[in-house]
Symmetry: C3
């Protein structure tokens, strides 16, 4: 059983999250995603990556019901692994296009923020970092990529409000780079991926590192401290009570 | 005699600067403000703070005429104490709403920038960092919270021009987060404070620290150096001549 | 023979790049520009600097055809010297106004970004960091001043696209601070320079250092590493093939 689909075309790899119905993130999915990116990195003739979800979700975030059975240290291990993956995608030497084919929430939004370019489908889909609405904290690989995308004060606004944004609102906030209607979505994603795949791969890798290396240093400067605090709050009585009410609907 | 009023309501503390007519900042006011924030921090059932001024001013900034009698080292001590207060408010673990009920200038604007959310009354009130217009420099707890709010290039523009901005202009610059007419002002401030007070206090404190801790580190990396330079320029012949012309009007 | 003209007026120095037709940057021009700025710094009665180009170009950037004859280590020396000049202008204690009288491309755009205020002539002139379109990388004194001007995500967009922007587009991106038509251009530049020259020079120098010193530290933290990588990619087979096709047209 696999929660990831990998397709290699002319210069472009497509990685699809395939864990119906909401592509909830768990240990196995993160392991497979990591392996998929490592495989794509080794492919000499692949110059760009598309990351997308199946169905009507990009990803609804962590598999909260699944994690309710985890011991605290198991969950801490999972969060550390997830944080590593986010850093790897954020610094991935090839361009990564997030094709936000549907709802993109919490940990799913963080996954999108790690990518280089976000294209969001217009219509019903929403994007949010809604952790604060259920009393959850965050950690450094959420805040820093967000501040890279939208500047400090808007980052604060997105996090403090926990609001579910439409594609248009997200575009106005710089949270996504482009919007496309359902009809045009696949074509727009492909066109963007081809555009990125046409760039000189060495110049791209060098410049991306230059633009993002300082952010990685900042992420790592408070990563472990904030992951521990995130896990402590997650296991606090009041937040746990909120989490236990979350059902992941299909 | 006290220059601060403190009121504790259901979950919300209101701190009012009360030094007519312009709520000019001096040693005593800063001491009392510090004590008020420490008191509020200790109150377990207070989840948000409103900081506002009495009359038609939030604060016109430092009590310049009062400081003309200070020796240089006394003034340096005052500035260090003020800088400490700004840092404490900037990192205060509970949300702080600045209710800008009137003119918000220089040191008064810095006080507002240390808060989490700025609501400005529309109409005649102006907001400015006008130090450069009288030949004064600044120090790190001015520049860094400003850059956190408005990004580098707009921060530069606000400082270099020293311009007095209307509420609408300030909103367009992200210098304030919300505008309200005189009629609606108190209700809008209360509504915002209640909104913040409704958030999980542990998640808020953790995330606020995450968003701002790096800024605090940067402030402290050049705080003493820039305070010394600020004081030197303040006591230079040309700037002192400008300062001696400042009258604080009611 | 000189590639720089220097004119000293009442409080204002004008430095003109004078290497027809495109004011291409080479070793001699950089040496002369450095000497001109050092001379202006020593002039006690000069309070502002205008940097502009002759003809219909501000500068088209590096003299690529001229550099094709350079050995790799000679080119590395040139890039290090250029990077030093950019840092000196970025931190220059007096205000520097870039008068973008025409096309402002690649290394010419970087020169403009090192200045405090950019005024661009409207009409046909274009501004771009187009290095990626011919497979060239960049180095830290390109990326950091750009991020200071336009925030991270727009910086990425400008660099990844390599697009030639009109004055209006550049203004919308914050890449330039003001636009003026050909008729008004000289008057607008002079007015801005006079405005800056009227500020207290000590307060300006102190505040500019405060706003930019952290950026300088960041530039220097990865300057040599990125210059080496830039030079390596410049001398790679594929990029060299692209460079050899560049003609500088008048």
């Amino acid at each position: 059983m696999s929660f990831i689909e990998l397709k290699l075309d002319e210069k472009i790899a497509t990685i699809t999250l395939n864990r119906p119905k909401v592509n909830a993130l768990n240990d196995q999915l993160i392991d497979e995603l990591k392996a998929a990116f490592q495989g794509v990195q080794a492919e000499g003739n692949i110059n760009a990556v598309i990351l997308r979800g199946q169905g009507s979700f990009f990803s609804f975030g962590f598999d909260v019901p699944g994690f309710m059975a985890y011991q605290k240290d198991e969950f801490q291990n999972y969060v550390e692994k997830y944080s590593d993956l986010i850093k790897e995608i954020f610094m991935f030497p090839k361009p990564v296009i997030a094709a936000l084919n549907g709802h993109t929430v919490a940990g799913g939004c963080v996954l999108a923020l790690a990518c280089d370019y976000r294209i969001m489908i217009s219509g019903k889909a929403k994007i949010a970092l809604n952790e604060m609405t259920f009393g959850s904290s965050l950690f450094s690989c959420v805040t820093e990529p967000l501040k890279y995308a939208v500047e400090s004060k808007k980052a604060e606004q997105i996090i403090y409000s926990g609001k579910m944004y439409s594609a248009q609102e997200a575009f106005n906030l710089n949270l996504v780079d482009r919007i496309a209607s359902e009809d045009e979505f696949d074509a727009v994603v492909l066109e963007s991926a081809q555009d990125f795949a046409g760039k000189d791969i060495h110049a791209f890798a060098s410049i991306k590192k230059m633009l993002k290396k300082e952010i990685l240093n900042t992420i790592e400067s408070y990563e472990m401290e904030t992951i521990s605090e995130f896990v402590d709050i997650w296991y606090s009585r009041s937040t746990r009570a909120n989490l236990s009410k979350i059902e992941i609907r299909g």
